[in-house]
């Protein structure tokens, strides 16, 4: 078990979700197999690009498992991640942005508050995503 940013990961997990294989003759993995094994990208705000850069910074190869990281790499990753604007900080920033729009009384802020599409989409049908996500206290 390895702790990264107060979150524990099983040793057999890959550090990063694998990109699709470049050659077309290799069958694509279907199902949740690669997605469930990612580690860095479980943090809100760390995506494919940032995780690849992070791994390059500490010379972690693309198919590395969490258990194969040496202590220094884990410490470095922790130190780096803790200075980044990710997880709750990033969520707070998002909420602040929406709140600011709302406080200014803008149309966008109002649409967020009403749980309706913000960018001019139709509302007759297909507003499930907006209804699910758009709110003043948006989750992420």
């Amino acid at each position: 078990m390895v702790f990264i940013l107060q979150r524990n990961f099983k040793d057999a997990r890959l550090v990063k979700v694998l990109p699709p294989p470049p050659s077309t003759h290799i069958p694509q993995l279907t199902g949740p197999f690669p997605l469930c094994q990612k580690c860095l990208e479980t943090f809100y705000g760390v995506g494919p690009e940032l995780s690849a850069r992070l791994m390059a910074r500490y010379y972690i190869h693309p198919t590395a498992k969490v258990g194969s990281l040496v202590d220094k790499q884990i410490l470095d990753l922790n130190a780096d991640l803790s200075t980044m604007n990710i997880e709750n900080n990033l969520r707070r920033q998002l909420r602040d942005n929406i709140k600011r729009l709302r406080d200014m009384g803008t149309y966008r802020g109002r649409r967020h508050a009403m749980g309706l599409p913000v960018r001019g989409q139709r509302t007759r049908t297909q507003t499930a995503t907006a209804a699910k996500l758009n709110m003043i206290e948006r989750k992420g």
Binding site: A52, R53, A56, Y59
Partner: protein, 490 residues
């Protein structure tokens, strides 16, 4: 009391009792018949059956336990092991009595041409240890592994003999069509080298080194920055120590550098040294460096009582992968690492280009792969130039309609100077390019007779069949010949 008349037959009700419309029970059931195709005698039975069926369905649901057994998932690594396993024997194949083995004597005889010779048992173990066999090759179809002695095999046998006796070194790249036997040629060279007591180092597939499946780390103190692959180096060291028994007798003759990570006893055997590196990936790279420098020490500088260093055979398959300018590894500043900045590949490239000498003689042999190689215009151009250069002295190369002038740079391509320097640099220019042609008809006949004797090819091997298969296989391309005769038999 008056009765209403029947409106159909105009009979009075009193007469209805005798009329044909009297609704007797038998008539009733018969009158129902026109709406059903089943006979009335079956009506009761069918009713019984439907209720029984209903009851049965109900019971079935109740009684049958839920079938929750799912297929067992393969254990980690099981699928890869299945994919990579090498089968070298098949008890269903007929044994061939009187089949000779590869020996130092018969492999360079002209009479052996066109014969299939067996690989001696202990060589099989050595070749397996250096991963010379590939899962795509058809070893698993025969009773024991055997190889065709083709024209080039005899040439290689003579070449190795010459290199050993004169202490010379040669650097060579094998090219050829897909299935023309490049990898098996490397395997044959390794077999000969083992028989002659050479030291053999083999990188079985360069792709493994560049696709990011092994760990990597910067090599401290290197400029420009190089990268080591510790676990692969440890694997390679284990491969070397398992396959080269003569390393037991060779002793460390130089003192290790002052910054060597572990204290090692003086006069340690090279096999033990390789074993140390194999067991600990952290020290694998310095151990590999020391081992290579020991193996290439000039025999003149070795003490008289110490064993002389044998020639070295260093081989690599799938050369185009080793020439890639972008590997899956990244620098800290997120730039792709050049394949030649990986220390293991750099070591090989230094020998191939001639930057590192082989004072005790040896052969550096690289094979290109024609099965799904990465596009590499620089390598293609460099090899085409060398090939045209050597061909102009003997015969013109066969024209390729899709690329009439492969040895001329294409203005729309960018070429990698580091790759070109291997072949054209200050030390380069001496790399030989050998194109493997198809088998001759005599060789094809020998091979097909071997297949027939093994019970796989069930036809009379005569001139007609050999000619037909030889033509269908693009002029004796051995992989196609194999496919046409023993893989895709209909």
């Amino acid at each position: 009391m008056s009765f209403r008349p029947c409106w159909r037959c105009f009979l009075r009700a009193s007469d209805l009792s005798t009329s044909i419309w009297q609704p007797s029970p038998a008539r009733l059931s018969a009158s129902a018949a026109p709406f059903s195709t089943s006979t009335s005698s079956l009506t009761n039975a069918s009713a019984d059956r439907s209720t029984a069926f209903r009851a049965k369905v109900f019971n079935l649901k109740k009684e049958k336990p839920k079938n929750d057994v799912r297929a067992k998932r393969p254990a980690p690594g099981e699928r890869k092991a299945y994919r990579k396993r090498i089968i070298l024997s098949n008890t269903n194949a007929l044994p061939i009595y009187g089949m000779e083995d590869f020996t130092v004597e018969n492999m360079c005889k002209q009479e052996s041409k066109g014969m299939v010779l067996g690989i001696p048992g202990n060589n099989v173990d050595q070749l397996r240890a250096v991963e010379a066999f590939k899962p795509t090759q058809a070893w698993g179809m025969f009773r024991r592994p055997g190889m065709l002695v083709r024209n080039e095999t005899v040439e290689y046998a003579k070449l190795l003999e010459e290199l050993q006796s004169q202490g010379k070194s040669l650097r060579r790249v094998l090219v050829g069509e897909r299935g023309s036997g490049k990898s098996v040629m490397v395997l044959q060279a390794m077999t000969m080298a083992f028989l002659k007591g050479w030291t053999v180092i083999n990188i079985p597939e360069a792709q493994e080194l560049i696709i990011g499946h092994y760990d990597y780390a910067p090599l401290s103190g290197s400029s420009p920055l190089l990268f080591i692959q510790k676990s692969y180096t440890a694997r390679l060291l284990s491969q070397i120590s398992r396959s080269n028994p003569q390393l037991e007798t060779l002793r460390l003759s130089s003192t290790p550098p002052s910054n060597f990570p572990i204290p090692i006893p003086a006069n340690i055997s090279l096999a033990r040294l390789a074993g140390l590196g194999a067991s600990d990936p952290e020290i694998a790279w310095p151990v590999f460096q020391l081992l290579i420098s020991e193996l290439t020490l000039p025999n003149s500088s070795i003490a008289a009582d110490d064993q002389k260093r044998p020639p070295l055979l260093f081989t690599l398959d799938s050369l185009a992968n080793a020439m890639k300018d972008q590997t899956a590894y990244m620098t800290a500043s997120f730039k792709p690492i050049h394949a030649h900045d990986l220390t293991l590949l750099k070591t090989f490239m230094d020998y191939l280009s001639g930057a590192s000498p082989l004072p005790n003689g040896g052969l550096i042999l690289a094979a290109t792969s024609a099965s799904n190689p990465p596009p590499n215009p620089s390598l293609d151009l460099a090899l085409a130039k060398l090939e045209t250069h050597s061909a102009s002295q003997s015969s013109a190369p066969s024209p390729d309609p899709y690329n009439p002038s492969p040895a001329t740079p294409n203005p729309f391509y960018t070429y990698d100077q580091r790759v070109m320097d291997i072949f054209e640099g200050p030390n380069g220019g001496q790399v030989e390019v050998q194109r493997l042609p198809g088998l001759s008809k005599e060789e094809a006949k020998g091979l097909m007779e071997y297949w027939a004797k093994s019970g796989i090819l069930r036809q009379d091997v005569d001139e007609r069949l050999v000619g037909e298969k030889w033509s269908l296989s693009g002029g004796g391309i051995v992989g196609e010949l194999e496919r046409g005769c023993i893989r895709m038999r209909i």
